[in-house]
């Protein structure tokens, strides 16, 4: 028997705005849905890994168990910027891979409010936002995009096409916050936030939750859960390696490339083996650079890849068929596990109208400012 780890149950709530509900209520809902997906109960779980960023010091995992069953198992609360959910998933994967537990629950949840994220200046002195450049997330990722423009001449229109594609995909995903197509003129003509990111090229701040049940192969066989199980072929987590401009201009490229390389090596696979990708399109500019970072486009060819339609549903390598963060929404702590749900659903052949036909290998990617990157490669069991 191998020490492989399997996703046996997973689900997410429809992302939206739920100001009247608590974070643990949201997390509990996804947790129960994931348990129902594999027919297990909270009493079967040997440990819980909870990802949440904005209430990181408030024991969200324990509070979720108060909602669904306080079984006394170990709870680990995880915070790792926008890689929070994926990091919680990876913590669970490691524990099962190491043979400590046979079956664990990973859950990500977040309540966001609305408005700009990021921005410079702490508690001391005077605020530096707008005085010493901009640290809002739309600006940070505008810098990411325009660096690609500087290197390869990538255009505003090419960045905007990412939103056209992902918003189209969202019309096929009933769990996306928005399910509305946006033609190119509408995307480019929307309010400019930080050039070249218009409002329709920014991800949506939403509330949401997603969960996954991870199981050892032995336990999955014992429980008769191999039929819909999806194998975790690789799990990689990186922090930002040193690059010269990283402090002034956050570098999401090196951190992603290192995670992708690590994950491909662990899986013994390459970018050509992957059938679909859910990557971190927190802004339209980000998706373009990650085509190259994840190896699905050659250096400098990400712009022509979006032009070619290859990353649209039906294309050579569909990217963000869920609608991505741009339309599905981006509840930080939930996002990484929602990606796992999306890929698992395709590998199971259960994705309905947005199904990537014949998908056998899928990849998830998130980056968090600060920085962190997680890449997971999943395979149909």
């Amino acid at each position: 028997m191998s020490n492989d780890v399997y996703v046996v149950g997973t689900d997410m709530i429809k992302f939206g705005r739920f100001p009247e509900r608590s974070v643990p209520e949201l997390g509990a809902q996804a947790a129960l849905m994931a348990l129902d997906d594999c027919g297990l109960t909270i009493q079967d779980m040997q440990a819980v890994y909870s990802g949440n960023l904005f209430e990181a010091s408030a024991g969200v995992g324990q509070r979720i168990l108060r909602e669904i069953g306080q079984t006394g198992v170990p709870v680990v609360n995880v915070a790792n910027a926008c890689a929070t959910g994926a990091t919680a998933f990876r913590e669970g994967w490691m524990a099962v891979k190491a043979g400590i537990y046979d079956v664990v629950l990973c859950v990500g949840s977040e309540q966001m409010g609305s408005g700009l994220l990021g921005g410079g200046g702490g508690g001391k002195g005077i605020p530096t936002e707008g005085l010493l450049g901009s640290g809002t997330m739309p600006s940070v990722f505008a810098h990411v995009g325009l660096e690609h423009t500087r290197q390869y001449g990538t255009t505003f229109e090419q960045f905007a096409k990412v939103s056209v594609k992902n918003h189209f995909h969202s019309t096929l995903n009933p769990k996306a916050m928005y399910q509305k197509e946006t033609p190119l003129e509408e995307v480019m003509g929307a309010e400019m936030i930080s050039y070249p990111n218009t409002k329709l090229m920014c991800s949506v701040n939403v509330d949401g939750s997603a969960a996954a049940v991870l199981c050892s192969e032995k336990k999955a066989r014992e429980l008769g859960l191999m039929g819909r199980a999806v194998k975790v072929r690789a799990s990689a987590l990186t922090s930002d390696p040193y690059t010269a401009r990283n402090i002034a201009m956050m570098d999401f490229n090196a951190v992603t490339r290192l995670a992708a390389k690590t994950a491909y090596e662990m899986a013994g696979l390459g970018p050509d083996d992957v059938d679909l990708i859910e990557l971190h399109d927190c802004f339209a500019t980000a998706e373009i650079v990650h085509y190259e970072n994840l190896g699905i486009a050659k250096e400098g060819e990400a712009g022509s890849l979006i032009d070619s339609g290859a990353t649209q549903l039906g294309g050579r390598i569909p990217v963000n068929v869920s609608g991505g963060l741009l339309s599905k929404g981006h509840p930080l702590g939930a996002t990484g596990i929602a990606n796992i749900y999306e890929i698992t659903t395709h590998l199971r052949g259960e994705a309905g109208g947005r199904q990537v036909e014949g998908a056998k290998i899928g990849l998830t990617h998130v980056v968090g400012a600060g920085s962190a990157c997680a890449v997971h490669i999943l395979e149909k069991a």
């Binding site: 700009l116 921005g119 002195g125 005077i126 605020p127 530096t128 936002e129 707008g130 005085l131 010493l132 450049g133 901009s134 640290g135 809002t136 739309p138 600006s139 505008a142 810098h143 325009l146 660096e147 500087r150 505003f156 309010e191 400019m192 936030i193 930080s194 050039y195 070249p196 409002k199 040193y242 010269a244 401009r245 402090i247 002034a248 201009m249």
Partner: protein, 144 residues
């Protein structure tokens, strides 16, 4: 603390690496150069973030000139922050990279040229903190 013990307001740098010397000499941007690997970084460091060397960080003043590496034009920001403005990334001549506002250039994509040479100028800003301290910030201006 009684009002009498409150320190007299002073002039500070808006970021820790903008140093305002107490002897009244010219303010400057502080950097560190690793004598082992040669890397220059912004700010005062005792350990090299690139090679990990724990000795031999030389404290240096960053140059007053550089080249525009990257930018964005910010049209939407938090309430009270004047827009539009250009958030610029500048490679300082001799090493180090800074983010700051690019002044004296129209905030339009066509008006901004990658690699344009800039001066890095340190000036007083109108903002004060709650204790009445004044601040200096650095800005980028095109070299004419």
């Amino acid at each position: 603390m009684s009002a009498a013990l409150k320190p007299e307001p002073t002039t500070k740098g808006a970021v820790p690496f903008l140093v305002v010397p107490k002897d009244g000499s010219a303010p400057y941007l502080a950097g560190s150069k690793c004598t082992k690997c040669g890397e220059v970084v912004v700010g005062t460091r005792e350990t090299c973030g690139k090679c990990g060397a724990r000795k031999g960080m030389e404290h240096v003043k960053l140059a007053g000139t550089g080249k525009l590496y990257n930018f964005t034009i910010v049209h939407r920001n938090f309430p009270g922050v004047p827009v539009p403005f250009i958030s610029a990334i500048v490679d300082v001549d001799g090493g180090g990279t800074l983010k700051g506002n690019l002044l004296g250039v129209e905030p339009k994509p066509d008006a901004i040229k990658f690699d344009m040479p800039v001066n890095i100028v340190i000036k007083p800003v109108p903002q004060k903190d709650k204790d009445g301290n004044s601040y200096l910030a650095y800005f980028f201006e095109p070299q004419s």
